[in-house]
Amino acid sequence: MSGDTIAARPARALPGSGEHRRHVLVAVVQNRTGVLNRVASLMRARNFNIESLSVSHTDSDDVSRMTITIHGDEFHVEQAIKQLYRLIDVLKVQDVTDEPSVQHELALVKVRATDRNRGEIVSIVEMYRGRVVDLAPDAAIVEVTGTEAEVDALIALLRGFGIKELVRTGAVVMARGSASIEEATKR
């Protein structure tokens, strides 16, 4: 056929071979019943792997904000964003992975502490700008906020004393500068 004379173009398959990495999405959503369920259900049904998801109120009562970290390449993540937009309650989604931003999480760590090593624990925690928020005869609760890496590092050090319990919020994120994703949703 005549098409043979034309140089073959690349296959129609989606590239999908880009660099797989962690992406952080911020979604501003209407604060309606079940919106968290909708987002979580969609991510599951469409085969997107959520690493962490945090939800909170914003300054306006009818709007909530989600920080979603997922793993994938840029096409995967772009498709995730488009699918999120199909949800009626979703107002705005932004991939802030490559934007200058503050990405922090909070961790509470219940660590074994005796009279002998309590001072050592406190000094390590202070180095990471954490603090001891509860003390018991044989344990302490440490609170720390920071980037995922900072929190990881402190936890690694505390592990040597024996971690009894650990909870992390997952990242919450905000772009630096004066631009506001929430203001961008107000039409």
Binding site: M1, R12, T33, N37, Q79, Q83, T185
Partner: protein, 617 residues
């Protein structure tokens, strides 16, 4: 509170007493309803159930398909007061959902179905999913247990909004009568706007029974309540210029027309574009009817069981203009080998469809009618000369392909009745103007390939979900939606027996659906795959069915049987001439396959064709 029913305050009198004796409870109830209808009772408390009916009427709904049950009874208790709302009592809630779907597809309006909580609601699920996969505007209403009982595993309680959440465009659980008006206004707006889809509304029994003075919001208020739902309607002007440029460059362009053309009512613009730039039009299963098949530029049905010439054109095209379609795997086959020489223009109202299945060169997000209307003036007319050799090639491919897949004399092997012939005759004897409602499987592919379509919304088929049992209930909805057209349900013996109970609905509501039962005593498509893909390893594809003439007789439906080609026309005409529903039992060759066929995982260039087909015309 009390409100005045009906339009404006009617002065009435309460002096009327129904003639009695000793009235039964039934008679008293009937009298109460009669009085309501006639405006003799002017005041009654307005409850949530009234708001549902008001909302349906405000949305222009004239028929709903449903099935009563415990918690939805408050709604049935007021239906009598709204005689403009026709309620069709189906025999199974799946039938209600498919009927609403058929109504929507045949008219372009929102279809409405209704069921009670628990099993009533779960029975709707298959029909709602069918609508979701095919972007059908539908509002599905269910009842639920009183709010205080939710989460207690009450009788007939199930978390139905949890079930429908991933398979609806949106859903609602309404727990207060005050919220009903706003929710219904939102639901209809969402169902029909942008890319259409089903919206599910779950109403607790106390919401239906609660008194309310909530008013129905106007369109502006609805939009204000949905700040996250703003479909993009107009294509980006720069993208449109790029599309026009691509068209000007192309030597072998093909238009792929999808369901979006029908949803957006863009068939005129489609034809104008094809004519102006002399581009052949191929269509997907749901794009059938977007182009009059008699048009010289109408090239044919594409994909897994599409025409060989059409798939050939796509594989050799240098430009594909995809309009309101989503590159389903049944359309593309293996995407790696799909349309290897083509640049792809993709127009769709749903941004998530662009770049979902295939890589696209020129994306345009927008309503396809508006996009085409804006594009047309930018497109340079292409003259006959410029396309002469291309058109010649296309015509040659078409002759070759049609000769190799058509049993024109009506018989397959050994004189057995050929299904493609039956479908072709139904199309022809109805002047290609009937609404043809296919089921799923071989019958669906024969219906898509051979009936011949000349108008939009004349072909209904469950494409995305592939729901067997779809045909007859969907045809019920289509027959009520378009009473001016004949409605034919084309169904195999497998699918027919899945929703066969709706025969009674056809009789009770006198719905004139004509049923063409293509009976091969097999699950034909399963048998075909077992033959061709699973090395003749047949299992569970043989089917014993009833004597369908006796069955039809038992329901009081006139029926005919045809087993030879010369009996086909008479049977079709007899069914057409019957007043109400009718059935024609076509006993077809049991081992006829649908060819060509693209095996799963293969590409459009790897079509299986019928071995040794003798052209007997």
């Amino acid at each position: 509170m009390t409100v005045t029913k009906g339009e404006g305050a009617r002065s009435g009198t309460h002096s009327h007493v129904p003639d009695a004796g000793t009235p039964t409870a039934e008679a008293i109830e009937k009298a109460r309803r009669d009085m309501l209808h006639q405006g003799r009772i002017e005041k009654r408390t307005r409850i949530g159930a009234d708001v549902v009916c008001e909302a349906l009427l405000r949305q222009g709904v004239d028929v709903i398909f449903g099935y009563p049950g415990g918690v939805i009874l408050p709604l049935y208790d007021v239906f009598g007061d709204y005689p403009e709302l026709r309620h069709v009592l189906v025999r199974h809630e799946q039938g209600a959902a498919h009927a609403a779907d058929g109504y929507a597809r045949s008219t372009g309006r929102v279809g409405v179905c209704l069921g009670t909580s628990g099993p009533g609601a779960t029975n709707l699920v298959t029909g709602i999913a069918t609508a979701q996969l095919d972007s059908i505007p539908m509002v599905a209403i269910t009842g639920n247990v009183p709010g205080a009982l939710i989460g207690k595993d009450a009788f007939q309680e199930i978390d139905i909004t949890g079930i429908t959440l991933p398979m609806t465009k949106h859903n609602y659980l309404v727990r207060s009568a005050d919220d009903i008006a706003a929710v219904f206004a939102e639901a209809f707006h969402i169902a029909r706007s942008g890319r259409p889809g089903p919206v599910h509304i779950d109403l607790t029994k106390d919401a239906l029974q609660g008194e309310t003075r909530a008013e129905h919001p106007d369109q502006e208020e609805v939009l204000a309540r949905l700040p996250g739902f703003r479909p993009t309607l107009d294509g980006h002007p720069r993208q449109l210029k790029t599309v026009a440029h691509e068209i000007a460059k192309a030597k072998r362009p093909v238009i792929l027309a999808g369901h979006g053309i029908l949803i957006a009512e863009a068939w005129d613009e489609l034809r104008e574009l094809a004519e102006k730039a002399r581009i052949p039009v191929a269509w997907s299963l749901l794009g059938i009817g977007a182009m009059d098949e008699d048009h010289p530029l109408a090239y044919g049905y594409m994909g897994m069981h599409g025409w060989k010439h059409v798939n050939r054109a796509i594989q050799s095209a240098d430009l594909i203009i995809a309009l309101g379609m989503r590159f389903d795997d049944r359309v593309t086959g293996n995407v790696k080998t799909y349309a290897p020489h083509a640049r792809i223009v993709h127009v769709d109202i749903d941004p998530a469809e662009i770049g979902k299945n295939v890589a696209v060169d020129v994306p345009v997000v927008g309503d396809v009618r508006r996009v085409l209307a804006a594009l047309l003036p930018l497109v340079a007319p292409v003259d006959h000369e410029a396309r002469a050799s291309y058109m010649e090639q296309l015509a040659e491919w078409r002759r070759d392909s049609e000769a190799s897949s058509w049993h024109g004399s009506g018989t397959w092997r050994n004189g057995l009745l050929s299904a493609d012939y039956v479908v072709e005759r139904i199309g022809a004897l109805n002047d290609h103007d009937a609404t043809m409602v296919a089921d799923v499987g071989q019958n669906q592919m024969w219906t898509a390939r051979y009936a011949g379509y000349r108008r939009p919304h004349s072909h209904l088929s469950s494409g995305g979900l592939g729901t067997m049992g779809y045909s007859m209930p969907a045809a019920m909805g289509a027959a009520l939606g378009r009473p001016d057209k004949k409605t034919w349900a084309i169904v195999g013996d497998g699918g027919f027996q899945m929703t066969i109970q709706e025969l009674a609905t056809l009789v009770q509501d006198d719905i004139p659906v004509k049923i063409a039962l293509l009976d091969n005593h097999k699950l034909g498509m399963i048998r075909q795959w077992q033959e061709l893909v699973y090395a003749n390893n047949y299992h569970s594809s043989d089917m014993v069915g009833p004597d369908y003439l006796k069955l039809a007789e038992a329901y009081g439906i006139p029926a005919w049987k045809a087993t030879r080609p010369e009996e086909v026309d008479d049977a079709i005409l007899a069914a057409n001439a019957a007043d109400g529903p009718a059935l024609v039992w076509f006993e077809i060759a049991s081992e006829q396959n649908v060819f060509p066929m693209m095996p799963a995982g293969k590409g459009l260039s790897d079509l299986l064709e019928e071995p040794g087909l003798e052209v007997d015309e």
